[in-house]
């Protein structure tokens, strides 16, 4: 007999973990299906190993298991993206899919817990007001969000307090506060914790940006600066971005929401279970459950009135497409991903870049979003400039070293010997606009080991993307000069990666089903009981890390689901 649950959640990561907690706490019987392992803390107790996690990707799915293909344009044949160090092991392993298992992307994340700003939710309107419609690049499918910052503010607050974010508020209810970010949108209250201990390399960035008249602030991080909700403070190990946390100080749903869901008694988690498709009623108008294979490749069917896809933007799209759910041809459109614009410096004083977490550091928002300075490059939207001070082990340092230096021989040996402990990095995630040229579909040739097509990315960096990197490179160069940098270098404006764990927009929210995939709560148009969560729902993409917005949107969706269902979850099918 087929099993029945009130809800099935596909993927127990950032959004799936939160949804599991919210629904099960409200009394729904919830099944969680996770393709990776249900990690235990013992798995991570000694994780201080660059080869295991950074180089060999111990907590990400291998390219042989979850192939993703890429092509720059429809005229080219897609090839399997050489992510996770590539087929020859010679590529930068940073640009891959998120970690898997309970916690998902919140296992590996660098924990930057930014809110988007008010204007980020109305990017199209704000650009039109300042620059006019003709300024938008050809092919742009940019829209405003179907919700505002004010709609989401209570949910940002909830994510910060429930998941645990440290930081310094800059604007509480319109009142500016010293030490915080004066450009942030108003928040209803401060963070639950003060910032973590800064990395030694942050001082020069703060001093230089202040001298330049800018406004450095400590970044919000999903990392405990003191004991919070039974989890200890960060110990600054420096194996954080790309690594699981050995002391549970990093906020991941593996240690926040998933255990809370389990504690309700209403949640059952089946790990090593890979969902193959969403099942629907005969007329296709209603989700009825899912089909999945377990660790032994045994096929199972479960029924549920509510099916929540929370498997990462790319995988959500793949599941929708292989399930035949794409009524208006919008699934997979509007692919967006960050161009990081890495800029590195060698500073006069030691930065000890292996101490503390990646983002135990400051940023400036003086050039962000709609307040991007007038410029000669046609850049319409800005981004923060972020100082990176930690998490840099020697192999990663080798990968990012100055390209002017030969990477073998005495020159190489002496360069790393003399400069490794003086490295400092900056980045700015430049906006890219949704475009008719950037989309996902199913690869016609490449299949995974379960016989399902790989997801195929069609994407190339546009002029606006490259110009934004160039423009922000100038600002970073000015800051580096002010820091007294001995050497500087930066990534190419059109970098080789097209996949980065920051991939969003591909099942975007909107009220019009002919230009979006879900409504503003993540409910898939035309298929009752089916939700798609995560960054796939983003409508536009400014310069901020996606995770806190993903989590706020999940609380927002959960409230909607529970409000609609009242106390009678079984009535969900009538929604």
């Amino acid at each position: 007999m087929t099993e029945r649950f009130d809800a099935v959640i596909v993927g127990l990561g950032s959004s799936g973990g939160i949804m599991a907690e919210q629904l099960s706490a409200a009394g729904m019987r919830v099944l969680g299906l996770e393709k990776g392992r249900d990690h235990t803390q013992a798995d991570f107790e000694i994780k201080h190993d660059e080869l295991r996690y950074y180089q060999r990707g111990a907590i990400v799915a291998g390219v042989s298991v979850d192939p993703v293909t890429w092509r720059p344009d429809p005229g080219s044949t897609a090839r399997v993206l050489p992510w996770s160090a590539g087929v020859l092991g010679t590529d930068e392993p940073l640009y891959g899919l998120p970690s898997i298992g309970t916690g998902g992307g919140t296992l590996h994340w660098g924990a930057a817990a930014y809110r988007f700003r008010e204007a980020d939710f109305r990017m199209r309107s704000a650009i039109l007001e300042r620059f006019g419609e003709q300024a938008l690049p050809d092919g742009t499918t940019l829209q405003d969000w179907p919700l505002s910052y004010q709609d989401l503010e209570p949910y940002y607050d909830r994510a910060e307090w429930e998941q645990g974010v440290s930081g310094a508020a800059g604007n509480v209810g319109g009142e500016l506060r010293d030490g915080g970010n004066p450009f942030e949108s108003p928040r209803s209250r401060d963070y639950p914790m003060p910032p973590v201990t800064p990395g030694p390399g942050d001082g020069p960035f703060v001093a230089a940006t202040r001298r330049l008249g800018l406004h450095p602030f400590r970044q919000p991080l999903g990392i405990n600066s003191r004991e919070y909700r039974g989890r200890p403070a960060c110990v600054n190990c420096g194996f954080c971005h790309g690594y699981p946390c050995h002391v549970r100080a990093k906020s991941t749903t593996q240690v926040t929401s998933v255990p809370a869901a389990k504690a309700t008694g209403n949640f059952e988690l089946r790990d090593m279970s890979r969902v193959l498709r969403v099942l629907r009623s005969a007329d296709g108008r209603r989700a009825t459950g899912v089909e999945y294979v377990d660790a032994h490749d045994v096929l199972h069917t479960v029924e549920a009135d509510l099916v929540v896809l929370a498997a990462y933007s790319l995988e959500n799209v793949r599941l929708l497409l292989v399930s035949g759910i794409n009524e208006h041809g919008q699934v997979g459109k509007n692919f967006m991903t960050h161009n990081f614009g890495w800029f590195a410096s060698v500073l006069p004083d030691a930065t000890n870049p292996f101490m503390g977490t990646f983002n135990a550091s400051s940023a400036i928002d003086d050039y962000t979003s709609e307040i991007v300075p007038d410029n000669d490059l046609g850049v319409l939207w800005g981004a923060p400039i972020i100082s990176v001070t930690g998490d840099l082990q020697p192999i990663e340092a080798y990968h990012l070293m100055n390209p002017r230096v030969r990477k073998w021989g005495l020159e190489f040996k002496h360069w790393l010997r003399d400069n490794y402990t003086h490295l400092h990095r900056m980045y700015s995630q430049s906006t890219n606009f949704p475009s008719s040229r950037h989309y996902l579909d199913l690869d016609p040739a490449v299949k995974d080991r379960w016989g399902q097509p790989a997801i195929r990315i069609t994407h190339e960096w546009e002029d606006h993307d490259a110009n934004a990197v160039t423009l922000f490179g100038r600002y970073k160069a000015r800051i580096a000069q002010e820091m007294g940098a001995r050497e500087t270098w930066m990534d190419p404006a059109r970098p080789p990666y097209h996949l980065s764990t920051h991939d969003v927009g591909v099942h975007r929210m909107g009220e019009d089903p002919t230009s979006s995939v879900t409504d503003r709560f993540g409910s898939v148009h035309g298929c009752a009981g089916l939700y798609a969560l995560g960054g796939g729902g983003f409508v536009s993409y400014g310069g901020y890390n996606p995770n806190l917005t993903i989590q706020a949107l999940t609380y927002w969706s959960a409230d909607h689901i529970l409000d609609t269902a009242g106390t009678r979850p079984k009535d969900l099918a009538a929604v």
Binding site: L88, G89, I395
Partner: protein
């Protein structure tokens, strides 16, 4: 000689010779050779990097073809100057499809760096030679706020390895 798991002794000598060009040894400053990088590579090819066995065998063949004009038995038997010349020529053409030598050299460079800077448990980085070179204190459980202050000389922090952390938590693996 430490046992080998994939390479034969001749091949190991060749890889060791290449590695000693990637991170050379100097008086008072050991390099890839002393760090035992060849054993990291051999171990990797027998396990995690098994998919690259073919690439190594093809690369060694391509290297042998480049050595042949000099009349030496193997790359390892050439003098250092000639060795370096072959590697420089390979580096200059990494993307030419029929010149696999360039790609092979890029793979070996990557593996040399991994073996030199990876935890000693993986077979390379003997006596933490790589970490000592650059001033990296290794697998630290954490850093104190005092150690995080600017101006701290990290070389004063005793180096720890993954094995030390296992000892610390009382788990013998």
């Amino acid at each position: 000689m430490r046992p080998l798991f994939f390479l034969n002794p001749d091949e190991a000598r060749i890889i060791d010779a290449i590695a000693s060009h990637v991170i050379p040894s100097e008086p008072g400053s050991p390099g890839a050779r002393e760090a035992g990088v060849v054993h990291y590579i051999d171990d990797t090819l027998a396990g995690f990097g098994r998919d690259l066995q073919g690439a190594y065998r093809s690369g060694l063949e391509a290297l042998q073809a480049a050595v042949a004009p000099y009349g030496a038995r193997t790359f390892a038997d050439l003098d250092e100057e000639r060795q370096r010349g072959i590697l420089e020529a390979a580096e200059a053409s990494p993307d030419v499809p029929d010149a696999f030598l360039g790609q092979f050299f890029a793979i070996v460079c990557e593996h040399v760096v991994q073996g030199f800077f990876g935890d000693p448990a993986y077979g390379g980085n003997v006596d933490e030679i790589g970490w000592r070179l650059v001033g990296y204190p290794g697998a630290q459980w954490g850093f104190s706020a005092d150690q995080m202050r600017p101006g701290v000389d990290a070389r004063s922090i005793p180096i720890l390895t993954v094995a030390d952390l296992y000892a610390r938590v009382g788990t013998s693996a």
